[in-house]
């Protein structure tokens, strides 16, 4: 027993050092967010502030009252985007896994083809198309694409649905149930792990989206948190304690989600190899 413990010691030391390095940026952020303005750049660094200045957090809203609005905007876009991703992947995933029809393989081939296409080539034409549609300056461009379905999520859902036994739908079909009812009443409840995984990743994707709001949103009161944080940093860049307090507030929802659904994160990445951003 003792030898085993000592044999692991080098591994633990390496993990410790690496773990501290990986956490360093976050710890610096949380620590600086609680410092008074004068002590932000104290060297050597004091990691735990002597008198934590919680007032930094309300002060962010005093300096920039719109900051609370950014939360509302972000959650709106995130909710619309994530629900679109879940619904579209349920529908299309069902059509690609549990209905037998002649065009199925062709559509699936199309899905695989778009899976790895670099999006950079569509940024400009999409912007112009949304501009023609008079949708620049609204939230629509940020979440409408989700309702058509993203290839990754559809792929994930299709793979999951393929693992469910065929007898489920066949029995219902005998009873004369339509495909839509089979999806809604039988398959969807069984897909909750896949739904949860897609919801989490779609949440992150829309919450962390930067380029979308940067291109499509220009009115300050419509900023999302990402744009808002950048704006805050631009205007109050000398108040690093406040910039960090604002940063902490944009990260907390993500951390809460991560810690409540950690298992799904791991499963989701393993299923698709999808990155979190």
């Amino acid at each position: 027993m003792r030898t085993a413990r000592f044999a692991n010691l080098p591994w633990h030391i390496i993990c410790w050092v690496l773990g501290i390095s990986f956490l360093l940026p976050l710890v610096w952020m949380f620590s600086t967010a609680l410092k008074p303005p004068g002590l932000v750049f104290e060297t050597p660094i004091r990691w735990i502030p002597e008198n934590p200045r919680w007032y930094n957090y309300p002060q962010v809203f005093e300096k920039l009252p719109l900051f609370s609005r950014f939360f509302v905007n972000t959650f709106y876009v995130t909710l619309m985007g994530a629900s679109g991703c879940v619904l579209s992947s349920l529908l299309v995933g069902f059509g690609l896994s549990r209905i037998n029809w002649p065009g199925r393989n062709a559509v699936f081939g199309m899905l695989i083809a778009t899976l790895m296409l670099p999006g950079v080539v569509t940024i400009i034409p999409l912007y112009i198309i949304f501009r023609y549609a008079q949708l620049v300056g609204t939230f629509y461009p940020l979440w409408i694409p989700a309702w058509f379905g993203y290839a990754f999520y559809i792929f994930l859902m299709r793979q999951y649905m393929m693992t469910l036994p065929r007898e489920l739908d066949e029995a219902a079909r005998m009873d004369g149930a339509a495909n839509f009812r089979i999806l809604w009443q039988i398959i969807t409840p069984l897909c909750s792990p896949a739904i949860a995984t897609i919801a989490i990743f779609a949440f992150l994707q829309h919450y962390n989206d930067f380029l979308g709001p940067l291109l499509y949103i220009s009115a300050n009161e419509m900023f999302t948190l990402q744009l808002g944080l950048l704006w805050f940093q631009g205007r109050f860049g000398n108040f690093w304690h406040l910039v960090m307090a604002a940063s902490v507030m944009t990260i907390v929802p993500v951390l809460v989600l991560f810690f409540t659904a950690q298992k799904r994160f791991v499963q989701g990445i393993q299923l698709t190899g999808l990155a979190g951003r």
Partner: protein, 298 residues
Amino acid sequence: MTASQRRDLRDGILFTLPFVLGALLLWVGPMLYSLVLVVLDWNLITRPDYVGMKNLAKLVDGRDPLFYKSLYNTFYFTFFSVPLQLLAAFGLALLLNQPMKGLGIYRTIFYIPSITPAVAFAVVWIQILNPEWGILNQILGWFGVEPIKWLFDPAFTRPAFVLMSLWLVGPQMIIFLAGLQSVSPELKDAAQIDGANTWQSFLHVTIPAISPIFFFNLVIGVIGSFQVFTNAFIMTRGGPQDSTLFMVLHIYRNAFEWFDMGYAATLAWVLFIIIMIFTVIQFRFARTWVYYESEQSS
């Protein structure tokens, strides 16, 4: 065709319609439209002018030196960050594959930076890399390294960006870890019985078994790093001396700051083609080093 077959055909089309429409409206249509933009001179306000191959010529004949600069920066970033990210992710996965306590905590810690929103991540790193009071220079100082000017010295901006990218290897690490955990113990036992030591069994059993995962991470990593944008936009605005002007940032500026839509679309197509070429090359070379179990047994 029976009634039920007809119904299934109709439903199949209806259920997959969102994706098919999306592929047409969000991929095929825009890509074709973007091809049209390549031959136009258009600032979005006045009428577009047909200019033929002028945009392409501007890009080739050196009238836009920033294009070559951005090309170089993007290749530099890709060639250093992708292999280092793969090594880091694989190293962490090997660490987490050891039988010991507390692995879940370490996995969480290694993963967390990957989910932090990009703006907050960039804003913190501006401070970490600060020449005077940043933590990085303080830590390097313990080892006698003179303060480095990181984001203010064109020689160090790109290495700084590569370094930062190593904090984001969480997802790749988890994919590697899943691969390591699925290597069959029987294979390792068999190698051991044949007299292989730990290192040999790692080299000849584990590595081939997870080579498809290396391949997957490599392909995805290259596609992602060719499109690097956010950190350069927030932290350095492409500077100093254009040392962090990456291709997507150059495209962004041409399109949305200088409103040269035709030229920006041309740049985007060039980047798209570069990425596709690299992806195809990787798939070609995959046959020589990626090992697929199913192929081998047949």
